[in-house]
Symmetry: D2
Subunit: 257 residues, 4 copies
């Protein structure tokens, strides 16, 4: 039975690219996203046509039992060796006034509570198997608050320390949690593209992307994600940053993306 | 009309001592706690007998509208100049298994969401008045995850970056948020005392407290809280740590309290 | 015999203001600076005319034995209860090319090695007396590197962790080291004024200072310095930040001052 | 002409293993160490016998012009694509008393100033070529001070922020600096082995190493070093941690190694 890589949040960006990389390396890729069943099926078909193993799963991560049932369903396909928790809570900059209580809570449910729920069901299985990897895509907002980031920063910071807690408690039992801090704009139409809108996103791509490589390219990021999941247990990384060469680190730039 | 200092979480520890200090300095002290109306009344009576101004309020902070109504009630007494958010989410060390989803969520509601709710109603008033101080008692858990700290660290880290976000957005309008990281055991019967149990707490007091000053003394901490609330706006502190001289900083000690 | 506060780097800014504050609170203020004996004498005379105790000392801090002899000379006046290490290594932004080896080394000698030399001679005396305070004025550069900050950031970061080391080793013996991270422009003609030049400095004062309080005011900062030096040993701060209310924290601003 | 990987500090640990990895991947490995010409020659012979390209160089890094001349000599063999700065300043725990001024200075010369000197001569060449990688082996001491770490922590912290400064200034011109924070004991006879002594080192290996993988294995670490040096420029890491799965992160352990 193949090892499975479960991707929670598999759009046309980091999630899809990481799923593809793991599939190409011999894993079964279980791809989950909230909506767009046609897009999801197309991704799965692409992987299968390349001769790789993949399945698609729709998921509303904040629904009761949804994450728990997903893990059960995917474990039935094959043991989850690696999970990528790729859900964010980015809603752009919103002042305190423009952030209703419900929005603040939803951000936490997506970015922080969802990872805890996944850990509750998956970590015991990984401990039993003596091995497992939890890759967590994170953002600048996990490192500092900033104007307009009430919901995002609070949720992502909580998630970062949840990763630290899980490593402190379970790394010695073989569970490797990696907090991957993506500190810049990703060339991802499904996330940044939707947040900015088509026009602004294309302008950004024109200005920084293409042959300039000034946006983070998901297929290149996937190389590092895969490397981290396959590090020898004598030399694990727990916190890693990623940004385009032409970008400044979060402690040198004032605006969050 | 006197300036009011609203203390959310006023037990026989930091909250009570800070309330007393502000009352002694001429503020009206509005003391809130969840239960023990007799203890609350006794605290209020003590302050009044000293000739100071005080009121007592029972509060279930996670109840809908409770924090919002509290702010309205206290504003009716006098404009809230300073609020101390002194609710924690410390439940001792619990493994992933011993941390139900409800517990994780409750920790967040107490430590992180409650501060956001207070900010939603209070910051606009402070901005309108051009001045206000939000003191937030924090803990080691805000700085790092640790074994058994799933709920606590995730909630407190979110709260820390919420403080940073509020400063970034509102400091220039006169709202001063201070994240006070209490990095050690406090000589507080209502919190540490209850968590440890009477016997262990007395043993700790015997070993480190009394004339050894190895536990943080709330009445001494209150001096720094008051100083921070009265800093001139040209020189504000946003993040401050407090620990007993005989303790190590969180980056040098392995166990969280 | 009066307690002495030794100010290393006492110009018309933080150093002078802190010296004055301690003198006003009953300490003997031993003021040191590198040059301008007339300015130094004028500062000392001012304090004496107010009825306080003060002495002036010229000092070239990077000279062999100079710091060591200074401590001996001041101890002869009275035991040093508090020392303010207020020397910086700010030379503005210099590219790698514009930073000769000598400059890089000098920055380290001023900002980092000097503090170590002071600690070598002073900490044993403080340990013997069971009490002493070392206040260290620090800067944004201690927290992060930035373009042009090769010398400054490397020196200040070393100094920050030297403070941490000293606390870890000597706090329990009564030596209180406080790293005060000044995260913004100070209204100080002797340092920022000289770095920017008279014209730019006046423009900055016009834009941010005066009744706008957008520059850190040394006499207001001195209130916090004094508070920190007089905290009860059950509740010490080791790392504190200071900035004007209208400034952003270092993790939100891109330019170092 | 082959790309060269220059290893500064190539003993039987991280340096030697990284050199070997780069040689195996087609680089010329220029191996430098302070002494033991026979050991150095044996390492070079090993690589050559495997059919790879290597050279050996003796180096006293704190000597005037030594690092500068080394770069010139190695550039004559082939352009330096990647340099590994692998010199440390670990001298075990020494109290303030046991740390002479000379020792403190030497630590800085090895750990911080040496990297700056290398950067002064190498970065301009890398900028001209539009590409270059500077890998810096760092330690827990770069992140926090600790009892006995006066020299080590001050030097390593300065080095960390020097790395940040260089990235801020030169990453956009193609120079990739990676600060690799090795947060645990490495199975390296030339460094940890010498510090502990043969007997203690073997006991540690028995307790944590061998099939337990509880010591960092240099040949496994080298996989991550190589991955970092070959990341696509759209997704660079600047700060990465490495520790054995059975170890705690620095924010959870109290003792530095």
């Amino acid at each position: 039975m193949k090892k499975t890589c479960l991707v929670i949040g598999a759009g046309a960006g980091i999630g899809g690219s990481v799923g593809k990389k793991f599939a190409a390396e011999g894993y079964h890729a279980a791809l989950c996203r909230r909506s767009n069943i046609d897009g999801l099926n197309a991704m799965v078909d692409d992987l299968r046509e390349a001769g790789w193993s993949a399945s698609g799963h729709l998921l509303n991560a904040v629904e009761e039992d949804a994450l728990e049932e997903l893990v059960a369903a995917v474990e039935a396909i094959g043991p989850i060796d690696t999970v990528l928790y790729n859900l964010g809570a980015q809603i752009g900059n919103r002042s305190l006034d423009e952030t209703p209580l419900k929005t603040f809570e939803l951000g936490w449910r997506m970015a922080c509570f969802g990872l805890f729920r996944i850990a509750k069901v998956l970590v015991p299985l990984m401990v039993e198997r003596g091995h497992g990897t939890i890759l967590v895509t994170s953002a600048t907002a996990a490192m500092r608050g900033n104007s307009g980031q009430h919901s995002h920063a609070a949720a992502m910071a909580g998630r970062r320390l949840l990763c630290q807690t899980m490593n402190a408690e379970y790394a010695a039992q073989g569970v490797h949690v990696v907090h991957i801090m993506v500190d810049g704009a990703v060339d991802a139409p499904d996330t940044l593209g939707k947040m900015l809108g088509a026009e602004k996103f294309e302008a950004l791509r024109e200005a920084k992307g293409k042959d300039k490589d000034g946006l983070l390219l998901p297929e290149k990021m996937a190389e590092t994600y895969f490397h981290l999941a396959t590090q020898h247990r004598s030399a694990w990384s727990h916190e890693v940053d990623l940004r385009a060469y032409s970008d400044l680190a979060w402690w040198n730039h004032a605006v969050d993306i």
